[in-house]
Amino acid sequence: MKKILGIFGLLVAICVFTSLKSPNFLTAYNIQNLIRWTALFGIISIGVAFVIITGGIDLSIGSVIGLTGSIMPFLLVKHGWSVGPALAAVIGLSVLIGLAHGLLITKLKLQSFVVTLCGLLIYRGLARWGTGDKTMGFGSDYDGLRKLATGKIPVPGVESFTIPMPCLILLILAILAAIFLNKTIWGRYMLALGRNREAALYSGIDTDKMEILAYVICSTCAGIGGLLFALDINSVQPSGHGSFYELYAIAAAVLGGCSLRGGEGSILGVVIGAAVMRVLYNSINILGIPTQLEFAIIGIVILLGVIADELVKRYAAKRAAIVQAKVAESS
């Protein structure tokens, strides 16, 4: 909980700083955009959080986004599929990708870094080849479907401000994910095996199944994210759609309290982490900081966050050891 407060404090600090420096930050338009993009990135970050919690990594997210984002308009516009089957096909494909990753990692005991790095290359290649590497959009026939990404939910009593639809999708996904992680036995299994796979196995946990599930969740979230990103911008370049998004997602998860050593993480933290990433990006633009510095600034902020987290952790460990020593002495 303290961790979340820390990252939330960072978010507030960046917002306050930027809004003091520029009047363009706290406008309804800018905030709505921020929320929409935070929601889109939040969805893929929640996915990768599960993989990171089990002690793995997924580098293929950006390419899965590229693949689903290109295939959806391809099926709808080029091949005239109706929306239902096309959605099912795209989500099904994402599930299968996650399943393949999970099976390779658990049954063949390949490293997740390697498997998903290959995935990154493969799915990008397939997306470009399958769609003829042409930029694609949904045209104007699918405005209903596009509402999933561009829709606005009015706030009663407020005229100038609406809540972007992806925010609602994120909210639903985040609540489901948080319940899964914190309230079900499977969430606990993932936390346990992320910290110590062997001890989890020796406690009778089907560690392979849980790990596979984490990769399926991750790829599915990436698939959904890819779809929403495509619907949002309505112009998908198979060669670039979603590139590097895995890194944003991983960064958001780490900022939000997931340890790449596994076994740690909270869904709320990850969502706030995604918000920090977007707000930071937005601030750099609004404040007129040279965009060449964009990556450097984001990198530095993440690094500082992780360092602070490590220091806090050490302090807490020392405290716990002292408390334990007192108990031992008194008994």
Partner: protein, 502 residues
């Protein structure tokens, strides 16, 4: 056996604490020139800590170390080596992908024009190997040597830095009878050359054969010394245990019930050439002895479903089982307290509650996989109370508990599931005496309630004290079975090193 006035090495009032544990308290020790000093003590008595301090692996909190009468400070392994003090770990520390010569010169390679001088190192290695009577070529890969040979390489490595003090931590725990004899010859030979040796062992027979003097530690303190002519089994045990042995190992007579665990023609992948056959009755405590590497842990892992059996049958309460995972084994009523508590027993970063609750989550789950947190809390509270786990609360991260309390948490994980068969692998390794006694009492208590208990131990006194019946393994097969009235250190060692049943 020299009687030089100033001892070669003297430890005065050494103390060391770990969080929650007093590992050493004002311990003193002397080692003469060319003396073999056996340091004895049960698990958790402080032997390893003391040796690690001497070898510079850990710093002491307080106390003095004198070499040839001069106070020295050893604060790193390098400093220890500079003072010619070398430690040979029980688990050998060789890079087995490298050659014998490369290992002997590791970290202080001989150079010629800035490049490795292979020839000089080979020649130097040959000299060192000769001293320990090991006939392998210096270019041989360490992985191609037997454990006994690797140990001699370690000794040669220590000699190559002119070690004056050689600390050997349970050197025979994985050696065959032959290799053990060879090691003894080397040790005697080194003594004659004036090398002083601190020899740690659980095998009192060996100590009697080798040692010039015995220093016994108990609960992190000096328990007493024995001179050459005072060394006998009973005297050593008295000092180590410090109380009436029969009281320490609280065994009561009870009549064993039905066969609970029956193993028939079991073949493990670790030793596929042997079939294992034995049974454990309800209410019986069976000890499983043998050398390190005899296949005991591997067998327990098959019984617990971690490894799959190649052939054979495991019956629990008469029913044939078919395990492919620990989950299946747990379902059949088997529980394992594994050898490596920190790697396999506990998720160290999680709380006491989460660890104790882990194996039972599935059994107690609510619809749709929801966790039954109340049940988890209740079980944990019950276990903390029943097992007397010393923790500030159920939310404490298990990493910060002392070894004995961690082990109680591991046992607590299983007790709430009411297992029918309890397997324990080295249950008291690294645990202080108080907690050990509690764990013995617990084993006794469970047996009295009808649980079939099978425990692996490398500690002779534990086997002798706790077993109703002892199985001994040697190189993957069960080389014999000893009933309570046949049980003795000699009989166990005879079987463990490859002798046949009498």
């Amino acid at each position: 056996m020299s009687d030089t006035k100033t001892p070669l090495l003297e430890v005065r009032g050494m103390s060391k604490r770990f969080p929650g544990v007093r590992a050493l308290h004002e311990v003193s020790l002397t080692l003469g020139h060319g003396e073999v000093l056996a340091v004895l003590g049960e698990n958790g008595a402080g032997k390893s800590t003391l040796m690690k301090i001497l070898a510079g692996v850990q710093p002491a909190d307080s106390g003095e170390l004198l070499l040839d009468g001069k106070a020295v400070i050893i604060n790193s392994v390098q400093a220890a080596l500079d003072h010619h003090v070398a430690l040979i770990h029980q688990e050998l520390n060789l890079a087995d992908n490298l050659s014998v010569a490369a290992n002997i010169y590791l970290g202080r390679e001989l150079l010629k024009f800035g490049l490795l001088d292979r020839q000089a190192m080979m020649a130097g290695t040959r000299v060192e190997l000769k001293k320990v009577g090991l006939e392998v070529t210096p270019g041989a890969l360490v992985s191609s040597l037997s454990i006994g040979q690797q140990q001699l390489v370690e000794i040669a490595k220590a000699l190559s830095i002119n070690a004056k003090v050689l600390i050997m931590d349970e050197p025979t725990s994985s050696l065959s009878a032959q290799e053990t004899q060879r090691l003894f010859t080397v040790v005697n030979d080194l003594r004659d050359r004036g090398v002083s040796i601190i020899y740690i062992s659980h095998r009192l027979g060996e100590v009697k054969e080798l040692a010039d003097r015995v220093t016994v530690l108990r609960d992190g303190e000096n328990a007493g010394d024995l001179h050459r002519d005072e060394i006998d089994h009973d005297a050593m045990v008295r000092l180590m245990v410090g109380r009436d042995v029969s009281q320490f190992y609280a065994r009561k007579q009870h009549v064993p019930g039905e066969v609970m665990l029956q193993v028939e023609d079991l073949v493990t992948s670790a030793h596929p050439q042997h079939e294992l056959n034995f049974s454990v009755r309800s209410g019986e405590i069976v000890g499983l002895s043998g050398l390190v590497g005899a296949g005991r842990t591997e067998m327990l892992q098959v019984l617990f479903g971690v490894d799959v059996a190649l052939a054979g049958q495991i019956r629990v309460a008469g029913e044939v089982t078919d395990f492919s995972s620990p989950r299946d084994a747990i379902g059949a009523g088997i529980a394992l307290v594994p050898e490596d508590r920190k790697a396999q027993g506990l998720v160290l970063g999680m709380s006491v509650t989460h660890n104790i609750g882990l194996p039972g989550l599935r059994r107690h789950q609510r619809p749709c996989g929801f966790r039954n947190g109340e049940q988890e809390d209740r079980d944990t509270e019950e276990m903390i109370r029943e097992l007397r786990v010393r923790t500030p609360g159920p939310g404490q991260i298990s990493q910060y508990l002392s070894g004995g309390n961690q082990q109680k948490v591991v046992i607590g994980k299983w007790l709430s599931l009411r297992p029918r068969v309890l397997l324990l692998d080295e249950p008291t390794r690294g645990i202080d005496v108080g907690a050990r006694q509690e764990i013995y009492a617990l084993m006794e208590d469970l047996a009295a309630k009808g649980v079939a208990v099978l425990f692996v131990s490398s500690e002779m006194e534990e086997i002798l004290g706790m077993s109703d019946r002892t199985l001994v393994m040697h190189e993957g097969r069960i080389s014999g079975e000893l009933l309570r009235d046949e049980l003795s250190e000699q009989a166990v060692m005879h079987l463990a090193t490859g002798g046949s049943a009498a």
